[in-house]
Symmetry: C2
Subunit: 215 residues, 2 copies
């Protein structure tokens, strides 16, 4: 059975998956680059952004796993861009330039659908759908491979609420953000459904992997 | 200079230092024994509670450090007991029986002072004092040794707010409590004042140590 997997989901010590005040200039709000500071040096980040080099090691091992065996992604509208409400600017094609790193269909969940767009060899499909329906469509699109749950934190919570998440890789970053979007709200008792293993990295972050227990 | 050190402060993944609904039967509220489950098997816990045996290893190493070089403790009133407001039952002498594990003076911060009491060779002194004054008295009592900041989470925050904490050892437990007392509230940017090192344990918890940066 294909799985639904979230990877490289950074969380502050106080449980925020992104900061406050997202804008064009600040995709992570006041968190700036701090939540993903462990990711940028990795060989995987270099590779997916068309650069040479980058570090290997624990962080890169985890980063790379996100790109293995994935046939489609589901992401929240706030990962796709900073606009809220009805689309005022449909020329926005995501943060990722002409060749987004996904190279698969990407289902973008939004209450304000717009026509699908192809950017490079990534196709963004805008859907106003519940988690179950979004997963059904993404699974179909993935053609037997797994589906990546891309975030942000609000949609991770929605899919956890619906108990659809098989694998969740969090990266606990040793910062206290104080404000933003919490990833754990409403998740009391989550640990009863998952096996949890923590692995520290020399970079200072701790990789926390939750795998759904066989029922 | 003697230091102010907090040790073995357990925190859930979602940042709660204790659960909701403390009572005589549930010192950690609905968290039950889950926050301290890593601690109970250790040789240190066995030793301080007068038992033989117990585990050695990462958890015990961290647990044991809390008892080294300490001459006094400061604790919050809710660590001492479950009563709130004016003391209705002054016969309460803490959760720890006839021989509490402290063996030093313990300053209990409360807005409702009561006469000092000696239990075994621990003396509890009840003080309505600001963090600075409490630390001054505890430091005097410690006779050149360090002072332990005992918790709970609310008083840890108060001492962090006052920038009095030199060393903070947290234990991140892989559970989502959902409710209780948060340890990180109001601590945005804390990482700028501390060096932070994380160490995982085979038990599944991650020990996170914050040491105040030399200024």
């Amino acid at each position: 059975m294909p799985k639904l997997r979230a990877h490289n989901i950074a969380v502050s010590l106080d449980g925020f998956g992104t900061g406050e005040g997202q804008s064009l200039e600040t995709p992570f709000g006041h968190a700036g680059g701090r939540l993903m500071g462990w990711f940028f040096p990795t060989r995987t980040f270099h590779r997916i952004t068309g650069q040479e080099g980058g570090t290997t090691g624990v962080d890169d091992d985890f980063a790379a796993a996100a790109w293995e065996g994935i046939g489609a992604e589901i992401m929240g509208r706030n990962k796709f861009g900073w606009q809220r409400g009805p689309w005022e600017d449909e020329s926005w094609r995501g943060w990722w330039g002409d060749e987004p790193p996904f190279h698969t269909p990407v289902v973008v969940l939004t209450h304000h659908p717009r026509p699908d767009i192809a950017v490079g060899d990534t196709t963004f499909l805008f859907r106003d759908a519940a988690p179950e329906a979004a997963l059904a469509e993404a699974t179909e699109l993935a053609g037997g491979l797994d589906v990546r749950l891309g975030g942000g934190p609000s949609m991770i919570r929605e899919f956890l609420d619906a108990d659809l998440v098989d694998h969740l890789h969090l990266v606990v970053v040793p910062i206290v953000l104080g404000r933003g979007v919490r990833i754990w709200d409403g998740q009391e008792g989550l640990e009863e459904r998952f096996d949890i293993v923590s692995t520290p990295s020399p970079s200072g972050v701790v990789h926390v992997v939750l795998d759904r227990r066989a029922s």
